[in-house]
Amino acid sequence: MRFDDVKESALMAFDTLRANKLRSSLTILGVSVGVVTVIFMVSIIQGLNRAFAGQIESLGSNTIFLSKFAPSFGRPPGPEEIHRKDLTMDDAEALRREASSIAGVSPIHRMIAATARYQDKQTDTPILFGVTPYYEFVHSQYVASGRFINDIDMQDRSNVCILGVDVMRALFPYADAVDREIRINGNPYRVIGVMEPLGNFFGQSRDNSIFMPISTFDKYYPDRPFPEVVFFIIIRPHSRAHVKSAMDEMTDILRRRRRVPPNAPNNFGISSQDSLLDVYNQLTGATALVLTAISFVALMIGGIGVMNIMLVSVTERTKEIGIRKAVGATKLNILSQFLIEAVVLTAIGGLAGLIVGEIASLLMNKYSPLPAYVPLWAIAMGVGISALVGIVFGLWPAWKAARLDPIEALRWE
């Protein structure tokens, strides 16, 4: 097929589109909807992926998360997991002593929805953390003013606390928080510092927190009711290169300490950012499959529209096909003419869809918490897919046209 053929076919295609404006635009609309769906789905998946990867990284560099529960996303732990033996401070100490790849260990009690009060101001949403002096180093999160918990606070089980920025703003909108006395769940604490702001993680503030010595936490909440209180350990390996060996060492130490039989699975959960990403990717893989299926159906509908209009077009132009064959058009000439026409239709639909999809994902970024992102390859894919739809669904009508008997076609009125 020569360039002239393609040009002739493309010109004719545009001519036909002009001649049948309404019909063509409806068909184009059908394809657009399909492509918009594809673009939109891809942009959602991509946006989520990017946001998630970014958020995970923002949690701190290379830290390893250890708890008695297997890593999950929103899935509540099963009964087996709940009845597992708790991790202990001794476990944390053993890891710190024995694992050579580990630079720091930070055991943490976390209690959700603590109540904090200062004079007439109260907030019921903060998350209460019982932590050790290693917390700052392990998490790379530091106090902005005042000081952090030290060993003396730990020994004395002092009633001291450090506030996250959100809590500070809630309780001390006008005054400095350091050295004030506040009440947490009814007990008096002296504020000794304020943390630097951390920002959001998936729309949730990470600054709505209160820190106190883990020994003090134990003093007030010795029975650690689940699920209000959970205990976990954050480990910082020497470097990113040590993540794998640190996890191996930790697994060995914990299996030994928790007496896990050689062939039994771990009765604790270790996850790094990478493994979190793995789990996440598994989850979104399923979602992506569903979204892909939806896109496919949408494209099918668009494609059937194309096939329909092309069949009508072939029938309407039987005479024209006869004339073209009479003056020497081969099967391939006719086939390519109608195929190109179908591809032009779908390509216009695809471009329109791309524009709409792009605008929609921009709007989505701006006005909704769901992140959306259209990668370059998705744009190429959108155009490619629409052209492919044109070829796939245009092939049969085009073949029908190509096979017409010239004598019959010329006789057609």
């Binding site: 053929d5 001649a19 004339i323 064959k325 009479a326 003056v327 058009a329 010329l410």
Partner: protein, 253 residues
């Protein structure tokens, strides 16, 4: 114009000549040998043509005449390479057309045959120029040369001032002249006209037939298929078809 045409020679002589050459390659422009065309109508076989043979030399002006149902249209379709015979050999300009496949036939139609139809059969949305260019597009001729050839062909039928007009902006006679320009643009071996004046008034019919005469005098081979005797009378030779056979083959000029 030589009076000795292969059509007037005994068939045996033509065959003899072919055998001497070692292949069936007649020297005439068109050579039909025992052409049969059979259609299957349900369980019944209908013979539209049974055993038609004739030759046409380059530069002849022939009318094929016959009542409807005579096999005249079938014969025209075969001559125009729109169809292949069920049996027999058809040589057109030295090529055996009878065994060609669809795409080879398309190529032959493009190179060797110029069609003129009763209803003009122009592309309604294309300009006169584009209509005339159509065979050249399928002939693979580049746009510059195509443009020139098409303009030339339109000039030859006195339509230089209608180049950019679309068919609905042209009169019947003008449309038929565009169709003739299209038929001639590729310099085909034969100009094959099917009831070329059937949709035209008497005056315009005369114009078109005058044009045919002129084209013939310029060396074109013309075959007109018609059922009108006065149109046939303009030709130099008349083939009368009846019941799928050549009833009469007479030279009148």
């Amino acid at each position: 114009m030589s009076d000795v045409t292969l059509a007037t020679l005994p068939i045996e002589a033509a065959l003899q000549q072919a055998q001497v050459n070692g292949q069936h390659r007649p020297t005439s422009l068109i050579s039909m040998r025992d052409i049969w065309k059979t259609y299957q109508m349900g369980t019944e076989e209908v013979h539209a043509l049974h055993g038609v043979s004739f030759d046409v030399n380059k530069g002849e002006y022939i009318a094929i005449i016959g009542p409807s149902g005579s096999g005249k249209s079938t014969l025209m379709n075969l001559i125009g390479c729109l169809d292949t015979p069920s049996k027999g050999d058809y040589w057109l300009n030295g090529k055996n057309v009878s065994e060609m496949d669809d795409d080879e036939l398309a190529r032959i139609r493009n190179q060797e045959v110029g069609f003129v139809f009763q209803t003009f059969n122009l592309l309604a949305r294309a300009t006169a120029l584009h209509n005339v260019e159509l065979p050249l597009i399928y002939g693979g001729i580049g746009s510059t040369q195509r443009h020139e050839m098409a303009t030339q062909a339109l000039k030859a039928v006195d339509l230089s001032d209608r180049v950019t007009h679309r068919p609905n902006e042209l009169s019947g006679g003008q449309r038929q002249r565009v169709a003739i320009a299209r038929a001639l643009v590729n310099h085909p071996s034969i100009l094959l006209a099917d009831e070329p004046t059937g949709a035209l008034d008497t005056h315009t019919s005369k114009e078109i037939m005058d044009l045919f005469e002129r084209l013939h005098s310029e060396g074109n081979t013309i075959i007109v298929v018609t059922h009108e005797h006065d149109i046939a009378a303009r030709a130099h030779r008349i083939l009368s078809i009846r019941d799928g056979l050549i009833e009469k083959d007479e030279k009148i000029k």
